[in-house]
């Protein structure tokens, strides 16, 4: 699996993916409802959604690790042409951590507390790259240097609790990139960091990913990050992609009322914000037919309550799941 793939070839192809969590006595909860997503080599795509929108379930489904009792009900995920969920654990293990890796939030909790950070990077190289222990250690030290950890020789033997949050997050990035993966999934990787550290870690992640030629699925709830680090933006709401567009197009002419509501949250003008925000209703009132966003939408009409919109193209490379996208009336 070496060599740079031809431009335009899909690293990841998610088609009509449905993931459900069956529950006792109640209806199955659908975390993902027909996700279509294609990521090409070297692309950095930002997936933005609020808590509970299905972002993390999608990341797990891509790795073939939907947490039980969740099941893939329909559709499939092809990573490099292979369906990871259909493979044996051993086969999947040879892909995860090597060709498909993940940068997780809260690194100090996720790293192994009783192994030195150098050894944790080295283990990945040793296991996946088939090199000697000495060679793996050397690679790990190079990675610590590459992620700008000061005094890497000494830090090699440090344990996770001895590092600050920002340093630990750099170690996690080193672990994710040590095998030059094809796809890196970053799941809210910087949400726990302070702003000055977040900026440094994001710059580092972007540089490293570019150097290694990997594609990135950048999952976050902060739409501002994607404006600066992603080439394409996808907005996910209640398990559906509601808008997808190239970065410049998206931020200049967002079409879905929910996208605009997300952007409006940064406005300092309460009156304008109010124009795009409908008072929150207590959960349980979500209609089973119709648009999932209708209960919070300022532009909803009768049709929105009765008929679910499909993801329709608005312009080249720009699609919106809305009966009345903003562009059409502007």
């Amino acid at each position: 699996m070496t060599g740079v793939p031809a431009a335009g070839s899909a690293i990841l192809e998610v088609s009509d993916l449905w993931v459900g969590f069956p529950s006792y006595r109640e209806q199955t909860l659908h975390a993902l409802k027909g996700i279509d997503l294609r990521i090409e080599a070297g692309e950095m795509i930002g997936l933005v959604g609020e808590s509970g929108s299905g972002k993390t379930t999608l990341a797990r489904a891509i790795m073939g690790l939907v947490p039980p009792p969740g099941v893939i009900e329909r559709g499939r995920v092809l990573f490099n042409g292979r369906d990871l969920s259909a493979q044996s654990d051993a086969a999947r293990r040879s892909v995860l951590g090597r060709e498909l890796t993940m940068v997780i939030p809260n690194p100090r909790a996720e790293l192994n507390p009783v192994l030195s950070v150098g050894r944790q990077i080295s283990n990945i190289a040793f296991y996946h790259l088939g090199v000697s222990r000495q060679e793996a250690d050397r690679i790990a030290l190079d990675m610590l240097r590459a992620v700008h950890i000061p005094d890497p020789e000494r830090r090699f033997n440090a344990y996770p609790h001895e590092l600050s949050g920002g340093m630990a997050q750099r170690v996690v990035i080193a672990i994710a990139l040590v095998c030059s993966p094809r796809l890196v999934i970053s799941d809210d990787a910087t949400s726990g960091l302070d702003v000055t550290v977040q900026a440094q870690v994001l710059d580092l992640l972007q540089t490293m990913v570019r150097e290694k030629g990997a594609a990135t699925l950048f999952i976050t709830r902060d739409i501002a990050i994607t404006a600066h680090f992603c080439s394409r933006i996808a907005i996910i709401y209640a398990g559906e992609v509601v808008e997808i567009a190239d970065r410049r197009r998206f931020f200049a002419r967002p079409g879905h009322p929910y996208s605009i509501m997300l952007l409006a949250a940064f406005s300092h003008n309460p009156a304008l914000r109010a124009r795009w925000t409908r008072a929150e209703e207590i959960a349980g009132a979500t209609p089973s037919t119709g648009c999932a966003f209708a209960s919070r939408c300022v532009r909803r009409q009768t049709r929105c309550l009765n008929e679910a919109p499909s993801l329709r193209p608005l312009a080249s490379g720009h699609a919106v799941r809305c009966h009345f996208p903003v562009e059409a009336q502007a």
């Binding site: 340093m167 900026a199 600066h228 409006a264 207590i282 502007a330």
Partner: protein
């Protein structure tokens, strides 16, 4: 007129085993007037929460004084003292963790009033009235915290504070656990409540994008010292401390055109506050640092009315071309964007 809250040269040290000392707060002074919002901005480890706890009298300061309404806080006099009950309130970061999971929201809201000796009928009336102010649906009063979204939970958290009509609310990271849309709603609510009740806020946060439009004044805290204090607009448009410049440049706005200004890039992270070296707290990370910065702590200098900066080199910072206020530009752009076709 004397300020409602007056903090003078506050120092808080936490001794460690082996004779070491955590220097959490090193001489912080500020005031808050009635009906005013002061934001205390800083990264983790800057001492912002310790300052908040000293003000509430929950921990005693090592040195320095806190006066609330002319009387000293601490040494047994705190927000639990009978004379102060209900006059200073607190809102926490994690709404789900700070509300009792087994008590209905309406009951939680009314609880502070019980300790003020209010009878049941008056309490119920006040709870309903407050719920209206909060934009909390009446049905929510009969729910348990877990049945509400994080945004509604935080509304209840604010309601529990505002219900006693306090003079000061200390808000400790009230929005950082929330999604951006819920965050904006909470900020609107805080502004509205302040206009209605004239409550003063001490907003402790690291979330700069909300700070600008809720605060009258902003104090930037770094390693237990206030490095710059200014009216909100001034600080965002023309910060003069290298740390403030770096901090503001790190904030990302959702507009690809507004790239981060690179006049000053802060490298590395906030160091450990154990046994700090003398001199300017930023000396180890600052591009302007010279020998003097490493030995001598710069005193606060008044550069304009209400604008104080503690830096020997603030004139050099002022000379840098970092005056483009990305925040102001973003507001213009977003106003244009949001003005099209709303419902």
């Amino acid at each position: 007129m004397s300020a409602m809250l007056d903090v003078q040269n506050l120092v808080k040290l936490f001794p460690l085993a082996g004779g070491k000392v955590v220097q959490a707060v090193n001489g912080v002074s500020f005031t808050i007037n009635r009906g005013e919002t002061l934001s205390l901005v800083g990264e983790s480890g800057s001492g912002k929460t310790t300052v908040g706890r000293c003000i509430l009298g929950l921990i005693d300061a090592t040195e320095g004084d806190v006066y609330f309404d002319g009387e000293q806080m601490g040494r047994g006099r705190n927000i639990r003292s009978k004379a102060l009950r209900g006059r200073i309130q607190l809102v926490f970061q994690e709404p789900a963790e700070s509300l009792d999971p087994r008590i209905r929201i309406g009951e939680t809201l009314g609880e502070p009033l019980r300790y003020l000796g209010m009878n049941r009928a008056d309490r119920d009336r006040r709870v309903r009235d407050t719920a209206t102010h909060l934009g909390l649906p009446e049905r929510a009063l009969d729910r348990y915290p877990s049945e509400l979204s994080a945004g509604l939970q935080q509304r209840a958290g604010i309601g529990r504070a505002i219900i006693t009509r306090p003079e000061l609310i200390v808000l400790d990271e009230p929005t950082s656990a929330l999604d951006p849309t819920a965050r904006a709603e909470i900020v609107d609510l805080l502004i509205r409540l302040q206009a209605e009740f004239g409550t003063a806020y001490l907003l402790i946060t690291h979330d700069l994008s909300t700070v600008r439009f809720v605060s009258h004044r902003v104090a930037v805290l770094y390693l237990g010292s206030i490095v710059e204090e200014a009216p909100s607009e001034t600080l965002f448009a023309k910060p003069l401390h290298p740390y403030s410049v770096g901090l503001l440049a790190s904030v990302l706005l959702p507009d690809p055109e507004l790239t981060r200004s690179s006049a000053i890039q802060l490298e590395g992270e906030i160091p450990s506050p154990i046994d700090l070296p003398p001199g300017c707290p930023l000396a180890g990370r600052c591009p302007f640092a010279d020998a003097r910065c490493k030995t001598e702590q710069p005193p606060p200098v008044m550069v304009a009315p209400q604008h104080f900066v503690s830096c020997f080199h603030h004139a050099k910072v002022a000379a840098l071309d970092h005056t483009t206020d990305n925040f102001a530009r973003f507001q213009e752009d977003s106003t244009r964007l949001l003005s099209v076709g709303a419902g």
